[in-house]
Amino acid sequence: MLRFFQRTFLVLALAGAVNSASAFSLAGPFEDWQVEAIGYNIPNNADVSGPKNLGEEYRWNVKTITYGFDSSFLNYFGAKGTAAVMQAVAMLNNLTNVSQMSSDLSEFPTDTRRVNYQASALGLLDMKTYSLAILLEELGLASPDRYAFTLRDTRVVNSVPQYLVIKRNFDPVTSVPSSYVNDALYTYYIGSFTLPVTFVDAVEVPVDPLAFTHRAVVSISGGLWGRGAGFGGFVTGLTRDDVAGLRYLYGKSGSWRNLNIENLIPGTTGSGQNSGDCPWCPVGGTNTVSTNTVVDLALRPGVDKITFQLAKYDSTFGFFITVTNQYTDSYMTNGTLKTQTTQRVLTQPDILFSAEDLGLTADGFPFIWRRSAPNWVNNDALNSQAALAGPGVILPQAVITFSKLGPYIFNYSPNFLDEAGGNPGMLWGFFDGTTNAPVVFPDGVSIQYLEQQVLSGH
């Protein structure tokens, strides 16, 4: 009996029925069973979301998301920091509409990871890459590299510990749970961990030690242990599976249309250009007179494409310049797709980049980034009779904060208690694959100083 359980639950296992090489994971609020003891909401990981099943996804339903930098970010990371984030934003803005993507997404590579070897030796993390990964999380994706296998439950039955492992990594075409992420196979083992809390997890194991361990970009920030790009790692764009997840969430037409009953973001109004042709308009209402009436609750497809727009910050007076975001909303009525022009008046960006000392993990390592939990709204009651964890929408504001701790050194008692014996910690940087020296934040930290630290024996 014990051998059976060992074989079933402890020995590496793979899904032999996997037919796909592509998959994505969806993010949403933690469900009741997604507790710390089985690998969710881990404090050291600053987790903000759990993996969702198909049909229980969360997404934005606006076409334009504004983002901005507060004074703490601007003061610490400066122009090069904003450039790093804006490069990440450009990668998202440069995506084509979901409706224009090929069915197999073959125009997107399965691997966009690169290494700046100098940055790798100096212990630098690429702010552009992490910004992109965190933005994907904020858009509703979870790490497929973390949730290809995940625990649903664990308990002791007849004195035998047993673990129920599920997959929350889905093929975008067949919806079949998959063991592959961007063509790379995973297996798992049941691991137990004691810091900062005791928990068990189905830990994904890549089948090649030379393979990057976080194959999807979103996994770089959403993986169990973070730091997914590694020192010196950076990406050149989204992978096929990142795009597959976005297509699932935001598909508007054809096979990829994803219809959910949703409200608009609170505060959204009509723009005065609408026809008033809505399912809740009074009988006899005109369809020729412009109106500020807006169809709020409706069956909506995905928005097809989300564009990020910079919210400008007035550094003299210390506030964001108010913008009016006008966009065309699409909804279904009587089986027909309708549109209405809506607008939002924004005094704060939907996504805010900030900087602060983020404190330490329970085992004494500095947090290097943090993202706030998205404002989830569960619309399950609107969409089904079943008790589900979604679908839902994401509301602003999300805050993404990078550590401004700066260069730091670990010293250990009793033998490594001076500067020469210290061990330098990781730093935020901004780099690519060229021979250009990596930018190190705060701007002005000397590359030569870092090299000396590395080559002095650390």
């Binding site: 060992q6 402890l10 020995v11 590496l12 296992a13 793979l14 899904a15 032999g16 029925a17 996997v18 090489a21 003891a37 073959s106 997107f108 590579p109 399965t110 691997d111 966009t112 690169r114 700046n116 070897y117 100098q118 790798s120 030796a121 664990t154 308990r155 002791v156 004195s159 510990p161 047993q162 673990y163 063509d183 196979l185 297996t187 083992y189 049941i190 691991g191 137990s192 961990f193 004691t194 005791t198 928990f199 068990v200 830990v203 194991v205 089948v207 090649d208 030690p209 030379l210 050149t236 694959g433 060229t434 021979t435 090299e451 000396q452 590395v454 080559l455 002095s456 024996g457 650390h458």
Partner: protein
């Protein structure tokens, strides 16, 4: 036993037999032919993924380089002279300025009549192709850049190249979508002048899931062998190393066969080297088992990952693919990950090098192990890189076919980021000269290394002859008395 001697025993290396009154064949031992050296000079930018091919008169080193172009990674190479140092200056292998993207993961093989062939993957990320370029004996390119793969959908990557006994060349690579399911392994033969011989051919028989990251080696009988990783072929929980032997004309001699024997351990990163004696060696990374460290009746903590992650395994096979020995673990230090092995051979000598995390005290280091002709370990593992701070990555090994191995790798260097370093390993050549009281043994050494003369009468049990000897120069000698005409002596290197 003193701690010093204990340490000596720990680092004992294989040795070379010397019979009195005649030299005897048998085991071989190698001495580092020098310290680490910058084999291509201190170049700006990052020089990574080196690969080398050498003969007694020199050879080529090739690598990917981010300093050769502002448009991405490019392939550069350097000629090596007989001292295995750079002759002239590095040159660009990939000169095409119109194709977008990077040139990556180069490989080189010497041509039988002189010259060499370079292969690499080429193109923007996710849409790479395989290219090759031949050069003549004088080092001048004899061809342009040749598109190797015929199927050009999706991507082709991870090329490997070998020169066969008949002078032809075979290139293998992974191709996505071509065999109907994810990646498959394909090949293309060339003449020594760079003309395609036949069409591209499929190597793998089993096609579902990935067959990827191939390696190729020519065999002494004229055939060649391809090894690769195959996913989920043997079982629903298997990732294995497979091999298939082909004739020089590209016709499969038999079907594919599994190289590793374990069916529960993940395998990766295969490398292969053909021996002039006829067989070949395959080495690979293999994941250790998960261990249950705290079996109890609570569900936490219940299990934990073994601290021994990836190990390096290898075995010898004969020319027909029959295993000559059971696969053995080549790394002695097992904590953490030892992976990405490379192997080369001449005569009955095999040298495997690999990456080991943390073993040298700082990130990755390069470690090596000689294999005996029976597939067992010859001596113990040794560290290759002298400089241990920061990262030493992307090891490769080549043999000159006579008496040397060359190990090259990429290492972080102040001011110029990652540069290419190398170290040679020379066969310990023992000479015996009759003197009045017996024999004078003399052998080549590396200053600072420690050597031990040993003696045997039965070729099984070896006894130390005198104390370990610290080499002060490049040779050493010891006088031995001829008390037993059947005694056999050898010299082994005991401390790196």
């Amino acid at each position: 036993m003193s701690s010093k001697l204990h340490a000596v025993k720990r680092f004992a290396m294989g040795g070379l037999f010397l019979a009195m009154p005649l030299l005897a064949g048998g085991q071989n031992a190698f001495s580092p032919g020098g310290n680490d050296y910058l084999i291509a000079g201190a170049l700006p930018g990052d020089q990574t993924f080196p690969n080398a091919a050498i003969s007694a008169t020199g050879g080529y080193l090739v690598w990917q380089d981010n300093s050769a172009s502002t448009k991405g990674l490019r392939i550069r190479a350097a000629r090596l002279n007989s001292s295995l140092t750079m002759s002239g200056t590095p040159f660009l292998v990939s000169t095409n300025a119109t194709r977008a993207g990077d040139r990556e993961k180069p490989q080189v093989s010497l041509l039988n009549g002189g010259g060499a062939v370079f292969v690499w993957q080429d193109g923007r990320i996710g849409f790479q192709r395989i290219y090759a370029r031949f050069c003549a004996t004088n080092g001048a390119f004899s061809t342009g850049e040749i598109l190797v793969n015929t199927y050009t959908n999706s991507f082709q990557m991870n090329p490997a190249v070998a020169t066969l006994v008949d002078g032809s060349v075979v290139v293998v690579w992974s191709s996505s979508g071509q065999d109907g399911s994810m990646q498959g392994v394909f090949g293309q033969r060339f003449s020594a002048t760079g003309t395609k011989l036949g069409g591209e051919f499929q190597v793998n028989v089993f096609t579902p899931y990935n067959q990827r990251t191939p390696a190729v080696a020519g065999l002494a009988n004229g055939n060649f062998v391809v090894v690769w990783v195959s996913e989920l072929q043997r079982a629903s929980a298997s990732v294995d190393i497979y091999a298939r032997i082909f004739s020089s004309t590209g016709v499969a001699v038999g079907s594919e066969f599994a190289v590793n024997t374990s069916t529960t351990n993940l395998c990766a990163n295969p490398a292969v080297a053909g021996s002039p004696q006829g067989g070949f060696a395959v080495v690979w990374s293999q994941k250790s088992d998960v261990t249950q460290v705290s079996p109890n009746n609570t569900w936490t903590p219940a299990v934990s990952r073994s601290p021994d992650g990836w190990d390096v395994f290898g075995c010898l096979l004969d020319a027909n693919g029959a295993a000559a020995n059971v696969p053995v673990r080549l790394n002695t230090y097992t904590y953490g990950d030892q992976y990405a092995p490379k192997v080369s051979a001449f005569g009955r000598n095999y040298l495997t090098v690999w990456l080991s995390l943390g073993q040298d005290g700082s990130w990755e280091g390069i470690f090596g192990q000689f294999l005996s002709s029976s597939g067992g370990l010859e001596g113990v593992e040794f560290r290759v890189n002298t400089t241990t701070v920061s990262r030493q990555i992307h090891p490769t090994v080549a043999a000159d076919g006579i008496n040397r191995f060359l190990v090259a790798w990429s290492s972080f260097d102040a001011g110029t980021s990652f540069d290419l370093f190398a170290r040679a390993y020379d066969l310990i050549r023992v000479d015996a000269v009759a003197i009045a009281q017996g024999m004078r043994l003399s052998w080549n050494t590396q200053p600072g290394c420690v050597y031990q003369v040993q003696v045997t009468a039965d070729y099984v049990t070896w006894a130390n002859q005198g104390s370990p000897r610290v080499a002060g120069g490049y040779s050493d000698s010891l006088d031995v008395s001829a008390t037993n005409g059947m005694a056999c002596y050898r010299v082994i290197r005991v401390v790196n």
